[in-house]
C-alpha cells in the first residue's frame, strides 16, 4: 500500500515537475506567472489525442505533435496577449494571462466539447516489482520521458549558445540586449520550450489517467505554480524538486487523510511555504529596493 502510493506519487510528481519547469523558465525570463500554462498543457493533450484518434498516428509522433503544437500555441499566446504588455505594470500582464487561460479553456470546450474524452490505450500496462517496489509500465514511461526531457532541457540551457543567451536574459534583460542578445527571440523560444514541456506533461497525464477534458489544465497549472514556488521560482532544479514533493505529498494526503480534499493539500503547502520560506527551497532571496 505504502509503496504503491509512493510510485504513484512519484509518477504524478514527475508530471508536476515537467509542468513546473515550464512555469519557472517563463517566470525567470519575463517575471510573469504564466497563468495559461496549465491550459497549454491541456492543449498539448488534446492535440496528441486528435493526432491519435483522427489521423491514426502512432504514439511517439502524436506525442511530438502535441509538444510542438502546444509550443506553437505558447508563442502565439506570448505574441498576442503578453508581448504588448511587457512594459506595463505586472498586474496588467497577469490579468491578461488570466484572460488567456479562460480563453483557451473555453476554446477547447468549443472545439472538442465539454465532455471527458478517453485517451486510447496504446501501451500494455503491466505491473513489475523491483524488490517489492511496484512500478507499472506507464509509470516507467512517465519517469523515462521526464528524465529524457530534463536532460535535453539542461543540455539546451547549459551547453548551447541559445541557452547561454537565455540565462543572460533571465539575469538582466537590458544588459543582455546591450550584449547583442536578441531578447525578443529568446522570450519566444522560452515560451515555446516551456509550453512544449507542459504539453509533454499533459500528454503523459492523458495516458496515465486515460482522460482528457478542457478543464484538466486548471488545477495542474496552479499546482505547477505552487511546485515552482516551493522549489524557488526561477530555478529549474528547484521546480523539479518542488514537483516531486508536491506529487508525493498529494498522493499520500489523498490516501491517508482524505481523498475529497486532494486538491486542497497543494494550497496548504503554498501557504506554509510562503509564510516560512517565501524564496523557496532552492531559491535565492532578494530584498526589495525602493
Amino acid at each position: 500500500m505504502f509503496l504503491d502510493q509512493l510510485s504513484n506519487g512519484l509518477a504524478i510528481g514527475s508530471i508536476y515537475a515537467l509542468t513546473a519547469v515550464g512555469f519557472t523558465m517563463v517566470y525567470g525570463i519575463v517575471r510573469l506567472i504564466n497563468f495559461a500554462h496549465g491550459d497549454v498543457y491541456m492543449l498539448g493533450s488534446f492535440l496528441a489525442l486528435t493526432a491519435i484518434t483522427v489521423f491514426h498516428l502512432p504514439l511517439i509522433p502524436a506525442f511530438l505533435i502535441g509538444m510542438i503544437g502546444a509550443g506553437f500555441f505558447g508563442v502565439i499566446l506570448a505574441y498576442f496577449a503578453y508581448k504588448p504588455l511587457f512594459e506595463a505594470p505586472r498586474i496588467n500582464l497577469f490579468l491578461s494571462a488570466i484572460g488567456a487561460s479562460i480563453f483557451l479553456e473555453n476554446f477547447s470546450m468549443l472545439a472538442w466539447g465539454p465532455q471527458t474524452n478517453s485517451f486510447p490505450k496504446l501501451i500494455e500496462n503491466n505491473v513489475y516489482r523491483f524488490a517489492g517496489f511496484p512500478v507499472s509500465t506507464l509509470q516507467l514511461v512517465i519517469f523515462g520521458t521526464t528524465v529524457v526531457l530534463v536532460i535535453i532541457l539542461s543540455y539546451i540551457v547549459n551547453k548551447t549558445r541559445m541557452g547561454r543567451a537565455m540565462r543572460c536574459t533571465a539575469q538582466d534583460m537590458d544588459a543582455a540586449r546591450l550584449m547583442g542578445v536578441n531578447t525578443n527571440r529568446i522570450v519566444y523560444m522560452t515560451f515555446a520550450l516551456g509550453s512544449g514541456l507542459g504539453a509533454a506533461a499533459g500528454v503523459l497525464v492523458g495516458m496515465y489517467y486515460q482522460a482528457v477534458f478542457p478543464m484538466m489544465g486548471f488545477m495542474p497549472g496552479l499546482k505547477a505554480f505552487i511546485a515552482a514556488v516551493l522549489g524557488g521560482i526561477g530555478s529549474i532544479p528547484g521546480a523539479m524538486l518542488g514537483g516531486l514533493i508536491m506529487g508525493i505529498s498529494e498522493t499520500f494526503g489523498a490516501a491517508y487523510i482524505s481523498s475529497g480534499y486532494r486538491d486542497g493539500f497543494a494550497f496548504i503547502i503554498l501557504i506554509i511555504i510562503l509564510l516560512f520560506k517565501p524564496s523557496g527551497l532552492l531559491g535565492k532571496s532578494h530584498q526589495e529596493k525602493v
Binding site: I91, S96, G99, I102, F103, I226
Partner: protein, 368 residues
C-alpha cells in the same frame, strides 16, 4: 473540420468586434464622463434625483415583464458584488481572485441558518456578513506578505478550498446536492415573494454599498488604502500601517460579498457549490476591470454591461466565457484603466481622445 472553422471565424469576429467596441466605447465613455464630471451643481442634482426616481419607479415600468425584471435584479446583485471586490482590488490594490468564496460563504450561512435553525432572513443577513468578514480576516492574515500575482494564486487557493469544503463536508453543507427550500424574507409578518419586493431589497443594498464605497474613498481609511495601492513602501513611510489597512479592505469586501450571497440564497431559494466557483470570481473581476478598477461609476457600468451581455448573446451563449477571456486581454492591452478611469473622475484631466477635438475650442486645462 467545418465545425472548427466556424468556431475560429466566430471567435475572430467576436475579437474584432470587441476591439472596435472597446475603442468606440472608450471614446463615448470618455466624452460622457468628461461632460458629467464638469456639470455644475444644479444639473448634477437633477441628474442624481432623476436617476434615483427611475430606479425607484422601475417596478412600475417593467413589473409586467418578469423575465426582464429578474435580469434587472441579477444585474443589481452583480453591481453589489463588483463594488465589494472593487474595495479590495480597486482601492487597496490587492488582486483577490477568491471573491466567490465570500459570496458562497454568505449564501451558505443564510441557507443553513434559515433552513436548519429557522432564523429570520434579516438576522441571517447580518450573520452572513459577520461570518464572511471573519473569513476575510482569516484570509487577510496569511496573505499580508504576498503581493500581486502571488496573492492572486493564494486567493484562488482559498476559493478552491472553500468550494472543496462545501462539496466534501456532506453532513454540514449537504455536499454537491446543495440546500433547497430556502424561505424568502419576511417583514412584519408579510412574506416577501414578488420580484418588486426583492428588487427594493437589493436596490437598498446596492445604494448602501455605493454610499459605503463613496464615503470610504474620502475617509482616512480610504485614503490610506489608495496610498497603499499606489506605493506601499512610501505609504508605510508616511505612517500608514499596511497590515491593518489591507485587512480592513478584505474584511469590508468580504462582508459585502457575504450580504450579496445572503440575498442570492433567499432570492433563488437554492444554493449549491457550483454557484460559487472560480469562474464566478473571474466574472466579477472582469466587471471591475472593464468598468475601471477603483472608480465606482465605472464598476457599476462594468457590472451592468457584463451581467446584461449574456442576455443579448443568447445565440452564441457557448462563446460567453471565451469572449470574457478575450475581453480581459484586449482591455489590458488597449485600456487598462477601464472604461471610466479613476483619474478622469477627478475632472481635472481631459481624456486624450476628446482633448484633440476640444483643442480648437481654446479651453485649456493643465493636464498630463
Amino acid at each position: 473540420m467545418q465545425n472548427l472553422l466556424q468556431i475560429f471565424f466566430t471567435l475572430l469576429a467576436a475579437g474584432i468586434s470587441l476591439y472596435i467596441l472597446i475603442r468606440f466605447g472608450s471614446y463615448v465613455f470618455d466624452l460622457a464622463t468628461y461632460k458629467i464630471v464638469n456639470l455644475t451643481k444644479g444639473p448634477r442634482m437633477v441628474a442624481v434625483l432623476g436617476g434615483l426616481s427611475i430606479l425607484l419607479a422601475l417596478p412600475f415600468m417593467i413589473g409586467n415583464m418578469p423575465y426582464l425584471f429578474r435580469t434587472v435584479i441579477i444585474i443589481t446583485l452583480y453591481i453589489v458584488l463588483a463594488l465589494s471586490l472593487n474595495l479590495v482590488i480597486g482601492f487597496a490594490g490587492q488582486l483577490s481572485m477568491g471573491h466567490s468564496a465570500f459570496y458562497g460563504i454568505g449564501a451558505y450561512t443564510t441557507a443553513l441558518l434559515m433552513v436548519e435553525a429557522k432564523w429570520s432572513f434579516w438576522l441571517a443577513l447580518l450573520a452572513s456578513a459577520v461570518v464572511a468578514s471573519l473569513f476575510g480576516f482569516l484570509l487577510g492574515i496569511p496573505t499580508l506578505r504576498l503581493k500581486g500575482d502571488y496573492l492572486a494564486i493564494a486567493t484562488i487557493g482559498f476559493g478552491e478550498l472553500v468550494r472543496l469544503v462545501l462539496i466534501n463536508w456532506v453532513s454540514f453543507t449537504r455536499g454537491p446536492a446543495g440546500i433547497p427550500g430556502i424561505p424568502g424574507p419576511s417583514l412584519f409578518g408579510y412574506t416577501i415573494h414578488t420580484n418588486a419586493d426583492y428588487y427594493y431589497i437589493i436596490l437598498a443594498l446596492m445604494l448602501l454599498t455605493v454610499v459605503i464605497s463613496n464615503r470610504l474613498l474620502n475617509s482616512r481609511l480610504g485614503r490610506g488604502l489608495i496610498a497603499i495601492r499606489d506605493d506601499e513602501i512610501a505609504a508605510e513611510a508616511m505612517g500608514i500601517n499596511p497590515a491593518t489597512v489591507k485587512i480592513m479592505a478584505f474584511v469590508l469586501g468580504a462582508a459585502i460579498a457575504g450580504v450579496a450571497g445572503s440575498f442570492f440564497a433567499s432570492y433563488i431559494h437554492y444554493v449549491n457549490p457550483d454557484n460559487f466557483t472560480y469562474v464566478e470570481s473571474v466574472v466579477i473581476l472582469c466587471m471591475v476591470v472593464l468598468g475601471g478598477t477603483g472608480s465606482i461609476p465605472g464598476v457599476i457600468a462594468g457590472a451592468i454591461i457584463l451581467a446584461a451581455l449574456p442576455e443579448f448573446l443568447r445565440d452564441i451563449s457557448t462563446y460567453r466565457y471565451a469572449i470574457y477571456g478575450m475581453l480581459l486581454i484586449l482591455m489590458m492591452i488597449n485600456r487598462p484603466q477601464g472604461m471610466i478611469g479613476m483619474e478622469l473622475l477627478k475632472g481635472k484631466l481631459k481624456p486624450k481622445s476628446i482633448r484633440l477635438r476640444l483643442k480648437k475650442g481654446g479651453r485649456s486645462h493643465a493636464n498630463s
